[in-house]
């Protein structure tokens, strides 16, 4: 592997880290609502949230490409504010990945919040804690395994995305060229040793992340 092969790695890690950080915060209220709401809207919101799980990434990527280009309101707003296009840029990749990886953040959190239930929150209220206080001081710490799972899954999933990135980001070195795309590019030119190097590194990273998750879960469970 050359230094040029490492650049996509840094880009990918940066993308995954940013997306994970944003999603852990942004998915929290949504997951809480899905876990506790009795609204009739809930199944619909749940379905929309889970769509990225079942849609072909190219379909998702295609619509994101259409939605983010500078002629749309969102794309135009970005163009005006930054002078650059949201499509074929790192920022565009972040936006696309947020949507693509959303269910991987929401679902573990939703499950964790549902398992906690209302009881500890009522106990907190009876100790004088308001809703936000109770949420931060009781629900979040009790859901820490859910947060860990959400973080690992979101991170690992963002690491490996291909179709969406290719559609929205293209293949611009240093901007949108992620590991998955770099591997594809190497294979296209029959440079198997480089493809091997990067693939093996990705396998090792993903395994390490999952191993960490399961080991922590086991320790927590053993208490």
């Amino acid at each position: 592997m050359t230094a040029g092969d490492l650049a996509p790695f840094w880009l990918t890690l940066r993308l995954a880290a940013i997306v994970t950080a944003i999603l852990l915060v942004a998915a929290t209220p949504l997951a809480w609502w899905l876990a506790h709401s009795k609204s009739r809207m809930r199944p619909m919101i749940e379905a929309v949230t889970a769509m990225p799980l079942v849609l072909p990434p190219t379909v998702l990527g295609f619509y994101l490409l259409v939605a983010l280009n500078p002629s749309t309101p969102l794309g135009g707003l970005w163009m005006n504010a930054t002078g650059t296009s949201l499509t074929f840029s790192f920022a565009g990749l972040v936006v696309a990945s947020l949507i693509y990886s959303l269910p991987f953040a929401v679902q573990p959190l939703q499950a964790a919040f549902a398992e906690i239930g209302r009881k500890p929150i009522e106990a907190a209220a009876s100790c004088g804690a308001g809703p936000l206080d109770a949420f931060m001081s009781v629900a979040v710490p009790l859901a820490r395994r859910g947060y860990l799972a959400a973080a690992v899954l979101t991170f690992a999933h963002t690491l490996g995305e291909f179709g969406v990135v290719l559609m929205v980001g293209g293949n611009i070195p240093g901007q949108t060229k992620t590991v998955a795309i770099a591997i594809y590019e190497r294979v296209e030119v029959l440079d198997y040793p480089a493809a091997h190097g990067m693939s093996a590194l990705l396998v090792a990273l993903s395994f390490a992340a999952l191993y960490l998750l399961f080991r922590t879960n086991r320790r927590e469970a053993a208490g």
Partner: protein
Amino acid sequence: MTGLDLDIRHSRGDFSLAVQAALPASGLTAVFGPSGAGKSTLLRLVAGFERAEGRIAFGDQVWSDQGHFVPPHRRRVATVFQEPRLFAHLDVRGNLSYAARRSGAEIAPVVRDLGLEPLLPRRTGGLSGGEAQRVALARALLTRPRLILMDEPLSALDQARRAEILPLVEGLRDRLGLPILYVSHSVGEVARLATHVLAMVQGHVASLGPAEDVFANSAAAVAFGGEEPGSLIAARVIGMTDDGLCRLGFAGGEILLPEPVGPKDAKVRVFVRARDVMIAAARPEGLSALNILPAVVHAVGQVNAASSDVILDMNGSRVRARVTHRSVRNLELSPGRACHAILKSVALARD
């Protein structure tokens, strides 16, 4: 001073609750009734965990009224739940300071009173049921509440653990001067703890008043559900007899108990099951029963196809007797009839 003032309605599915009651501002009011009577729902409405239609006020504060709702954390109501609901991510000390930090209360005195020092560094998961409920009780006190709600706090505990927690609840009742609303379906618990009783049946108030009165009120009979109905008699220890019996004085005369129950002048409460009370038209002779007291029939109420509860008045103390319709006819029991009550078995009110 008034305590809790309720005029509320609530319905969920085919269960509906309508309660109108003014509860005392001190002492322990037992919310008593068979399961499904709406006792826990009433508590949740008072705590603010669910919204009621109508009005809830406490002292000079309105907690819930049309367009006005004080959320649970601003009511200064501490709830002790059936299960301890300790925060699993905090140790015992953390659970206590969670409440104390938000109320400004001092932890040390409460920890000392409830004997919790050795438990402080423990994880909540490793506590026994009794220990956990003691911590929950301490946590509730550390919120500096104006009202304490207890939702069957002993029902998940075994007999031995109950015996451990009951005196603590008694202590709170006697020392704090705070009103306590205590949900229970156990006659024993209510007999021992309650100063007042709110008897509930099917979402409605069957009877409300001092415990002795409610136990003797025929309208409250149905609140006993499947449990053994009986009467409470407030008495005072007079002393011991030479042959080991304890003499108790009450409005209707003297009762003998076959065990020492406390020092002279100690206030006690005895419980007499309705089926342990016999009625005789004339004073019976040659009976082994120790406690035979003159009484006057106050009221007769039918409880089922074969039996009635006769409420006997003994100079102001009321005792419930369960007899058959046939006996009511044979003895011509109707209000005002003088008779004798034979208390076959009398027990100190304890769980």
